[in-house]
């Protein structure tokens, strides 16, 4: 059910309005909403659908198709661990297993202190210096389990 008293709804409406006349604007709108709110709330879906003259099912179908779009609020930082072949060839699986253990969650989950949401990436384009990890927009190379611990400590301190 839509809750019209959500304080961010005007922002969503503004984003939709600012894309008026832009061809194929649904992905750019979803990106803008997620950038602004951290995720795409169910209530926003209705407003976006109305604005683009689409059904809610169509908008939901697009959101759920793409791995990047999230329907729930993430932790303070998003940690992407690369699972692809180039990282596997340099013990990336050890980093991956360590990340799950260290953050106490599987992929798509958030650590209990709310600091980090863990995601799998299938190539971060840093294949000559793996294992690769990206925290928000910052890329890291040669991330061994020990290096992962250092990064977590560093980013926890950032707040």
């Amino acid at each position: 059910m839509a809750e019209i008293d959500q304080p961010w709804l005007p922002a969503v409406d503004g984003i939709v309005a600012s894309h008026a006349g832009v061809p194929g604007s649904l992905l750019p709108i979803l990106h803008s909403v997620q950038k602004k709110l951290g995720y795409i709330p169910a209530e926003a879906v209705e407003r976006i659908a109305d604005g683009l003259n689409l059904s809610r099912a169509e908008v939901h179908g697009v959101i759920s198709f793409y791995h990047y779009f999230r329907q729930h609020a993430p932790g303070r930082h998003v940690v992407q661990v690369c699972r692809a072949e180039a990282c596997q060839s340099v013990q990336g699986e050890a980093t991956e297993a360590h990340a799950r253990k260290c953050l106490g969650t599987d992929f798509h989950g958030t650590s209990s202190d709310g600091s980090f949401t863990l995601e799998a990436a299938y190539c971060l384009g840093n294949c000559a210096a793996g294992p690769s990890v990206m925290i928000d927009d910052r890329l890291y190379g040669r991330v061994t389990p020990a290096r992962f611990d250092e990064l977590m400590a560093e980013w926890r301190a950032r707040k």
């Binding site: 061809p23 194929g24 604007s25 649904l26 992905l27 750019p28 979803l30 990106h31 683009l52 179908g61 697009v62 198709f65 793409y66 791995h67 990047y68 779009f69 992407q80 692809a84 072949e85 180039a86 990282c87 596997q88 060839s89 340099v90 990436a121 299938y122 190539c123 971060l124 384009g125 840093n126 294949c127 000559a128 210096a129 793996g130 690769s132 990206m134 927009d137 910052r138 890329l139 890291y140 190379g141 040669r142």
Partner: protein, 517 residues
Amino acid sequence: MAGTQVTRVYVSRDAAAQALGADETAAAIVELARSKGLDVELVRVGSRGMVWLEPLVEVEVAGKRVGYGPVMASQVNALLDAGMLQGAAHALHLGVVEELPYVARQERLTFSRVGVIDPVDLDQYLAHDGYKGLQRALGMSGAQAVQEVTDSGLRGRGGAAFPTGIKWKTVLDQQVEQKFVVCNADEGDSGTFSDRMLMEGDPFCLIEGMTIAGVAVGATQGYIYLRIEYPHAEIALRAAIATAKTRGYLGRDVLGSGKTFELDVRMGAGAYICGEETSLLESLEGKRAEVRFRPPLPAIKGLFGKPTVINNVISLASLPIILERGATFYKDYGMGRSRGTLPIQLAGNIKRGGLVEKAFGVTLRELLYDFGGGSASGRPIRTVQVGGPLGAYIPESQFDTPLDYEAFTAIGALVGHGGIVAFDDTVDMARMARYAMEFCAVESCGKCTPCRIGSTRGVEVLDRIMAGGPQRAANITLLEDLCDTMQYGSLCGLGGMTPFPVISALKHFPEDFSRDR
């Protein structure tokens, strides 16, 4: 200080260099030079592609760039004291960068400026032959420009290797008002990063290439569909596009020619399938990125139903030099029907990983050992996967195969986007085969059954094979049948080519599938 000269110091801003500490190194150079009263001008450039030397610091001494690397921020103080700004000897001193064998032995056509210039400085781009290709294209008819591209022998560098000029000719021949140029910058294959390096290190080159494409086929709007995993490339592209617009290289009247070409960046959202061109077009239209049936071809009915040139980053970025120097110049590189150069990416378990641009014809062995220096772990290289997650695993016995589209097809492999991932002898090929199926299951768009269901069944069958027992041989037969169904029954390359890594692993490394674990 009186009498002191400004020393120019170059540090990469490429994401791979940043991932290894280049920002911290650059900041330390600026700060420590200031505190020591040394006059330094720091220039952030793209990466030379020698990733194992990043953060690479280059100092301009007597007109040449002397390299030091890898330089961590903590080492900057000692280096400055040792006389780095004069090019003095030090354990990290590499010599003149252009003379290093890794650099000197390349044939850098598409990547000639990457690592050399400030990527978002249009004047530096112009000073390094930038926009000469477009200038020449503007003096030609569309048909002449398309012919030049056809004559160059350029084939799609995204992996499909379709002749670019033929694709363009189809778009040129469509008599409609609106046409599009779309750049496929959804570089999702593991082991590939040449698109990213080009976009971060020389974004104007891609912009010029797309403008040439637009002018040639009569398209007025371009889109770069960029994967969300590449935020650094997004920043570089947006900055370069804004400058190109301001300076008249994009917009309603490109360089006073009266021709219009507008360009926008659109971000993907983490779907590997968008590297497939028809699903990319669906995504650009704001839909679920489900693969389209073909025909019609995108060249006839592409984006929003209009004729569309859709090319990979490297294909488009190769156009400026082809138009500037002419088709013959480009065609003189390469072998057989593979003309020109390919930016090859050495990745995975490799000592000297990075980007090597070479003419087609170079062998895997030369790349892996002469350039790559063997494995990073020091153990023997057992196999390489070429061409991304859908590429075959190639055993050591085939390392003398030259990089050539036809030679690779002959051994059941593909060149793809030129990414080479090395594995040492600790790799478990049954697990890699399982991963190929798992990846396909995660990334399948779901439109066709062989891919959507087949990939999940493939994971299950491989689990049973690895578990062993009396049914192992029957399960291997089942896996082969399943791969056959996926290869011939899938709608696009994802389901259709996932069997390549699986079957090649099974064929070349059967011992890994029969071993009890």
